[in-house]
């Protein structure tokens, strides 16, 4: 059976979420296995190497460059003769680290470092001296509350929590937290400027089908932490960002809020179940991240709503869906002309069928929520994983 299908976005009322929180380079883990932690607990820390400044001592001290081609012809610049400090020593901004005297000491050339740092390396071949600025401390927070289930020595931790999970299709902005607040009355309603009030400050607000540029700007002004909505017009997103996104790798934007689209671009009603899910959890803490990566290593934006451990009922363990599409599975159509429609698979014809474009493709038949039946390419549906 053909497996050409798109794995769906997850929407789970209760699931065990495991997050690996790792430092970019080795450092120190600050929590212990089994410890209960909050979303803002610092779990690990490190010092990122500081910026490297390159000084060419040979040029500054007016030394002759070493031009020999063959090893035996090359002469060392012998910079150690002029250095006032050793490799590894720290230095202050403006400090003289090398001096060369000529003409019996009448003239001298000096090298001052422009920044505070330490001398990392001095080359007798190129005359370069690398000054490393002081390290930049990095404190890694938990992002989700839960239990530390594993400590990865010097690197980070694994945190496990029981939560509701909704994956979006596209987002911008970094990890943030806030209380969920519904502003649109239904999944079909737009999130408009007039719905935003001062009460929205610090919240993650939920709209229905679309949000526009002025509403996003007002949300930032009010201090809204995040927006979850069905769609946005490309023009509005580009104008909010100040540039047009070329490749869908996001998450580093610092726009003042995190935006998560659940359906796509244009006016798109949020899936009924997604909207009702969010409604059910209104007032609860949500941990959201807009980071999206569509290429290798797919990352979708996420909305995590931590739950009490007492609500665990044993149905949370995920199974990998390896079988592909089968009759009866719930799907969402993800291409025109039925974009966004939801239904369930009724048939998976084996033979290729001709669609409107005249292409012969593998198709499937779907009974939509309104009872109508449509035939669509298998590539244009995604499984709804609930």
């Amino acid at each position: 059976m053909a497996m050409a299908y798109t794995p769906g976005l997850k929407r789970k009322a209760s699931t065990t979420i495991t997050k690996v929180r790792k430092l970019p380079i080795k450092g120190k883990v600050l929590v212990k296995e089994g410890e209960r932690i909050s979303y803002d607990t610092e779990v690990a820390s490190t010092n990122l190497p500081g910026k490297v400044n390159v000084l060419n001592l040979a040029l500054i001290l007016e030394l002759e460059s070493s031009t020999g081609v063959f090893e035996e012809e090359r002469k060392s610049l012998e910079l150690s003769k002029y250095l006032l400090k050793n490799v590894g020593d720290t230095c202050e901004a403006g400090e003289v680290i090398a001096r060369r005297k000529t003409f019996f000491g009448l003239y001298q050339r000096e090298c001052q470092v422009p920044v505070k740092g330490s001398i990392e390396y001095v080359s007798d071949v190129t005359g370069q001296c690398l000054i490393r600025e002081p390290p930049i401390p990095l404190n890694l927070k938990a992002y989700i509350p839960g239990t530390v289930t594993k400590v990865i020595p010097n690197e980070g931790v694994e945190i496990e929590t029981l939560a509701a999970l909704i994956q979006g299709i596209f987002g911008i902005g970094e990890e943030t937290h806030g209380e969920l607040m519904l502003l649109s009355e239904s999944e079909n309603d737009a999130l408009t400027e007039d719905l935003l009030t001062e009460e929205c400050a610090g919240k993650i607000v939920v709209g229905g089908s679309i949000v526009d540029g002025p509403t996003l700007k007002k949300a930032v002004e009010l201090g809204v932490k995040g927006i979850i909505v069905g769609g946005i017009k490309d023009a509005d997103l580009s104008s909010f960002l100040g540039y047009s996104i070329g490749v869908a790798i996001t998450g580093e934007e610092r726009m003042g809020l995190t935006l998560i689209l659940t359906e796509g671009f244009g006016k798109m009603s949020m899936a009924v179940k997604t909207f009702s899910f969010l409604k059910e959890f209104e007032g609860r803490l949500a941990c959201i991240n807009g980071a999206t990566q569509i290429r290798a290593g797919v990352i979708r934006p996420e909305i995590i709503i931590p739950l009490d451990e007492s609500s665990r009922d044993g149905s949370e363990d995920e199974e990998l869906h390896l079988e592909g599409l089968t009759s009866g599975l719930p799907v969402r159509i993800i291409g025109p002309p039925y974009f966004g429609a939801i239904g369930h698979v009724t048939d998976l014809p084996v033979d290729l069928q001709t669609v409107e474009t005249e292409s012969k493709v593998r198709v499937l038949k779907v009974e939509l929520e309104d009872g109508s039946n449509v035939t669509v390419p298998r590539a244009n549906v995604e499984l709804i994983e609930e």
């Binding site: 053909a2 390159v54 005359g127 370069q128 070329g246 869908a248 569509i294 993800i334 409107e356 590539a379």
Partner: protein, 612 residues
């Protein structure tokens, strides 16, 4: 790799792409190697599966189901074959899963050794993330920060002719040492680094980098200014790719044991097949792999083979970057019906976020073909920046140069000199009417002169490329019989007039058809017409073209011409739309012109061309 070609009767080849793993099954039938069938499944290199072999198994299982030929065992692919319906004699694979091979290259001068390093890395099938050079205009700290941020899979350090600058190479090595980029697949792995620069700098480079990198030293990529020697660096890249990149990717250790042939990056496989075919034809060829994420362009021109990759030009993941680089206006110019600009933007964004979807409606199909034209145009522009003469080399100067003009730095790739233009990739292979892919290639590349066009039938060029490294005969036989779809020949006049000259007679031609029929045609400016000529048939064409037009043929470029043209599934296209193709400025006139061209060629069903 010792493989006895005579013992190979059943072959399985796979390509583990970023999203889909594609299996192709070949068999020797009546003494000839032929394609039998395909199987496809989502690639499983990412979480939650994290084992590439699961996707390969699923794709191969589809082949098993379609053929009844047992291929899989719990250990992997069954080799050698046992009887008629079990196992294969050879299993080969390419891979671009996980983003392919991503490299940082470095050289002293951006347009000289750094450019040679870039060409070598591209030739090895890599995506070049950044080119570091002493004169690249960035401050040293910027170079270091950039390298640390990128986390390349591998670094290729070149620089200096043998006997040239040592200190500048050491300077580059010092930058690399300071950046200390981490391996993309885990902090504990060493980043592989190939040094292919001035041989007199080796000891310094070893001293600086040997401890922290998996360093391999090879012959200089540019031993003299006149000579580029990319082969040793390319081989080292392939070797280190297997040893230090593939082996750390999820499931690849297992996959490597399934095949006796080193896993090849997908673009390297694609390039190998284009090159093999061009060499077999002894012809100039322009090939393209128009993928979802990248556009790879290959040229074999005057026996020189060059590959370029536009890492962010593609038809799904990178479709919005095509819109960004080409401009929406340039995409819209190819659409023959009225459509809201904002709607096109939203559609392309939705394709980007759901990259595996395919066009279901004619409207969507036409929009994607419009984007493809622009991706091809930009891909060729990028290619020309790579395919150019060695700068710094002593060579015969043109009269203009001797008279004090600028030294020629532009590409030697001339579209008029291309005898073959071919393409592969989902959009081209899946075009419902072959004339759609032929027209996309012609418009995108601005094909001029007399050019044969072809496309991949079901996306198997990478598979055949890796196969060609161990069984050339099988690869070429399958390529010719089952992969190569001969579209036909395009006869396109060079030169242009203005819009008001549409309809003016610019050429008269006589076509002697293979059945003896003689067609006399008066060609008007601003037209393109199609003449049916079956695959395998040849016609003779002769005629005159008026100033300012000319036609490039094998015999040269001129106003009087004769040429042999080969048929194909589309036939012959006589293209008098001018070059570069200029569409009417007025929107209604432009749409009418496109409708005239598309309906004349029977490119789309009539309803696809109407305003909605």
């Amino acid at each position: 790799m010792n493989i006895d070609p005579d013992k190979i009767n059943v072959i399985l080849a796979t390509d583990c792409g970023s999203t889909t793993s594609k299996a192709r099954f070949f068999k020797k039938i009546d003494g000839e190697y032929r394609y039998v069938t395909s199987g496809e499944a989502p690639t499983t290199v990412e979480s939650p599966y994290e084992d590439v072999t699961l996707g390969v198994r699923n794709a191969v299982r589809e082949v098993e189901e379609l053929t009844g030929h047992k291929l899989l065992s719990p250990e992997g692919i069954i080799t050698p074959s046992r009887g008629e319906k079990e196992g294969v004699d050879l299993y080969v694979t390419t891979s671009s899963a996980g983003g392919g091979l991503q490299m940082q290259v470095a050289g002293i001068i951006r347009t000289m050794t750094a450019e040679s390093a870039e060409r070598a890395a591209l030739g090895a099938g890599a995506i070049v993330m950044d080119v570091l050079a002493i004169d690249d205009g960035r401050e040293p700290w910027e170079k270091i920060e950039r390298m640390r941020f990128l986390r390349p899979d591998m670094i290729l350090l070149a620089g200096g002719v043998d006997g040239g600058s040592v200190s500048h190479i050491v300077e580059l090595a010092e930058f690399i040492r300071a950046a200390s980029p981490q391996h993309r697949l885990g902090a504990g792995f060493e980043v592989p680094l190939v040094f292919a620069g001035n041989k007199f700098a080796r000891s310094h480079v070893e001293k600086l980098l040997d401890e922290d990198y998996a360093l391999q030293v090879v012959d200089n990529i540019r031993p003299t200014l006149e000579l580029e020697n990319p082969e040793p660096a390319r081989n080292a890249v392939h070797e280190l790719f297997m040893e230090h990149v593939m082996s750390h990717a999820p499931g690849y250790t297992k996959l490597m044991k399934w095949t006796p042939v080193p896993i090849m990056p997908t673009p390297a496989g694609e390039g190998a097949m284009f090159r093999t075919f061009a060499q077999a034809q002894n012809a100039n060829l322009l090939g393209v792999g128009l993928g979802g994420a990248t556009t790879n362009v290959y040229s074999h021109y005057d026996r020189k083979f060059v590959r370029s990759v536009s890492a962010n030009l593609g038809m799904s993941y990178s479709i919005c970057n095509v819109m960004k680089e080409a401009s929406l206006e340039n995409i819209l110019r190819w659409i023959p019906f009225k459509i809201d600009d904002a709607d096109v933007c939203d559609r392309l964004r939705n394709k980007m976020i759901r990259p595996t979807t395919i066009p279901h409606t004619l409207e969507q199909l036409v929009i994607e073909h419009a984007v493809a034209r622009e991706a091809l145009r930009l891909g060729l522009e990028h290619h020309k920046l790579i395919a150019r003469p060695l700068l710094g080399a002593r060579r015969d100067q043109s009269i203009e140069e001797r008279m004090g003009g600028q030294i020629r730095t532009e590409s030697y790739v001339d579209i008029k000199g291309m005898e073959w233009v071919g393409g592969t990739g989902g959009l081209l292979s899946h075009a419902p009417r072959r004339v759609q892919s032929m027209l996309s290639l012609i418009d995108g590349f601005g094909v001029e002169g007399v050019t044969k066009l072809f496309q991949d039938s079901v996306f198997m060029i990478p598979h055949l490329g890796v196969l060609s490294t161990v069984h050339l005969e099988a690869a070429l036989q399958i390529f010719e019989k089952d992969c190569l779809v001969r579209l036909g020949t395009c006869v396109a006049f060079s030169g242009k007039l203005s819009e008001k000259d549409y309809g003016r007679e610019i050429a008269s031609i006589t076509i002697k058809m293979p059945d003896g029929e003689v067609l006399e045609k008066q060609i008007e400016y601003g037209t393109i017409q199609r003449i049916e000529l079956e695959e395998g048939k040849t016609a003779e064409i002769e005629g005159n073209v008026a100033s300012p037009f000319s036609l490039a043929t094998a015999g040269g470029s001129g106003r009087r011409f004769t040429a042999k043209v080969e048929g194909g599934v589309v036939g012959i296209l006589i293209d008098a739309r001018g070059r570069p193709i200029d569409l009417p400025k007025d929107d209604d006139a432009r749409r009418n012109k496109l409708r005239e061209w598309f309906s004349g060629l029977d490119a789309y069903p009539a309803e696809a061309l109407e305003d909605k």
